[in-house]
Amino acid sequence: MHFDPLHLRAFTTLMAEGSVSRASLELRTSPSNVRRIWQSLEEQLGDHLFVSGESGEVLPTAAAKLLDREMSPLLAEIRRFENSVQRMHDQGRTLRLGADRNVFNTRHFGRMFNALRRDDRFRVSFVEVGEDDGRSALEAGACDMLFAVDGTPGRRFESQDLPPLKFDVASTRPREDGQALSPTELADLDWSLAAFAKTAIALDTLKKIEASGAGNGRLCSQNHFLRWAEEQAEGNTREAIVCVQPASFTRLPQVSFVPLESVPGFPLCATYLKQHPYEFLPSIARQMDRTLSAPPDGCRPSLS
């Protein structure tokens, strides 16, 4: 004998509510549908389950009490399932944040990571996702939310633009005041832009910097920039590199960073699956936007 799960659910509701109309409200269906299920169960069991009392009340028969009793192991297992799910929610669900290693290695990302880490709803972990693997990582579930400079297009994805990754100028010419550099000051230097996203965005950004009066610059890769700052090779005449300052790396003492004024940085975008089981993703994407828009705690770290 096989019981339709929906019929069992209707039966337990009818047992609990004691009236067809109340059960139908609880089940969000019509009273006639509840009656139909009731009748179909009676046919299946060859016995009456309820007798109609006065004023629409229904009273369970011995057969209904038997079915109710026999259902208890099943209901106990279902409760165990629900309790396990609840426990997983209480302990905090795993939230895997994916990003390219360059995006990860920024203070911007560090701030987001810390803000999320303090949230009880989940436990965060970081997953490195290669520049071209974003789409598959999101679809496969390797990461729940992906942070990338150029976004991750896809019909199944939802995206939230975040405040951009701000630029600093790394320079070998120490600047006494530590004040922000304006693009026109850049024009006096031999400079490049360290790109860590796809070239199209980097080129676009380069043009914007040039247009704001910075003269002519070139593009170099983030790796190139890191090598330059870590071990300036002989004969490398480049004087300054516009970059997103890495959160951690070892640099030569003569390289210093100053913020670059009036040029927006690289765009940053959080992407997640529209039909992701975590209902809180849209809200935390907005929360990230607010976190990053707020001024950082304290002042910028010393650049000496």
């Binding site: 004998m1 060859g46 192991p73 629900e82 799910v85 997983m88 669900r93 579930g141 975590y278």
Partner: protein, 314 residues
């Protein structure tokens, strides 16, 4: 009780076979419906249950934990159906009987159906779980089946033996296999396909035969075709598909004596009375209807034997 059992069933099957298309076929639904059910379960639980990649589908840690409970839920759902069916049978006085697919059982089924004092429901041996389990779970009340040696003896069951037969019968179509029954050697047939009873038809025989072949002769036949059904095995033997090897007096049971086959009965196996045809029921069975049906089965079988012997002697 918001957990949707259809979704849980899909979840378990998908985790077991790891393929959306196979799951769809297994459940008789479309592939998008499989994805939709899993997505629904993921959204209801608010958890990721699977990691999906192009090559594989693996349950996440949470998925693995819930999978265990989901199996229990489905098991309890199934057992609920079995228990309620039993209550219904008890209140109606119906007895559920499973018969093996043998000639004797076909005759038994006809005789039982003809008896108006009994209210019997037949369970098809092919569709149920293995019969020992089916009896223990009360899915059926009585099982009538052939078995080999001690194969059917479970501590929870009692056995009403209807018949015992010795040795083994080997039968073949003489056109395709020109063995001489007078100078028959067992080793000869190991070079051909053997037609044997499956574990559903005569439990215990096939594993025994395989052990016997590899133990005594160091080889297995090129192919062993196992039959759930005596009639199908008999037809295959008559057609010449292979050599039939069944325990006991299979030629008499399957009525192939008159077909001009080569037949050898061997007791080369040192196993007297190895085959039995018995009725099994639960040891603690109290239901008078079940006990009465068991007695009736024994009576009907004796009557059939007497009738058969009379037929053979004339």
């Amino acid at each position: 009780m918001d957990a949707d059992l259809h979704c849980l069933e899909t979840f378990v099957l998908l985790a077991d076979c790891g393929s959306f298309s196979e799951t769809a076929v297994g459940l008789g639904i479309s592939q998008p419906a499989v994805s939709q059910r899993v997505a629904k379960l993921e959204s209801v639980t608010g958890l990721r249950l699977f990691l999906r990649s192009q090559e594989s589908l693996t349950p996440t840690r949470e998925g693995r934990e819930l999978l265990g409970i989901a199996r229990h839920i489905l098991g309890e759902h199934q057992r609920l159906g079995i228990r309620m069916a039993r209550h219904v049978r008890e209140s109606k006085g119906t007895v559920r009987v499973m018969l093996d697919n043998s000639f004797a059982s076909t005759a038994m089924s006809t005789a039982l159906s003809g008896d108006s004092s009994l209210d019997i429901e037949f369970a098809s041996a092919g569709k149920c779980r293995p019969w020992v389990e089916a009896l223990e779970l009360h899915e059926v009340d009585l099982v009538v089946t052939g078995s080999f040696l001690e194969a059917g003896n479970a501590p929870s069951l009692q056995r009403v033996e209807l018949e015992r037969q010795r040795g083994t019968t080997i039968a073949w179509n003489r056109v395709y296999f020109d063995f001489d029954p007078a100078r028959f050697k067992f080793l000869e047939i190991l070079r051909s396909t053997l037609l044997v009873p499956s574990e559903r038809l005569i439990p215990g025989y096939l594993p025994f035969l395989e052990r016997w072949c590899s133990g005594s002769y160091g080889m297995l036949p090129p192919e062993l075709i196992a039959y759930d059904d005596e009639l199908a095995a008999r037809d295959a033997c008559l057609t010449g598909l292979g050599i039939l090897i069944f325990p006991g007096e299979a030629d008499l049971r399957m009525q192939i004596g008159g077909a001009g086959l080569g037949i050898v009965k061997t007791s080369e196996f040192p196993l007297p009375d190895a085959f039995s045809y018995s009725a099994y029921l639960r040891k603690e069975e109290q239901n008078p209807k079940v006990l009465a049906t068991a007695a009736k089965i024994a009576e009907l079988h004796r009557a059939a034997q007497v009738w058969e012997r009379r037929l053979q002697s004339t």
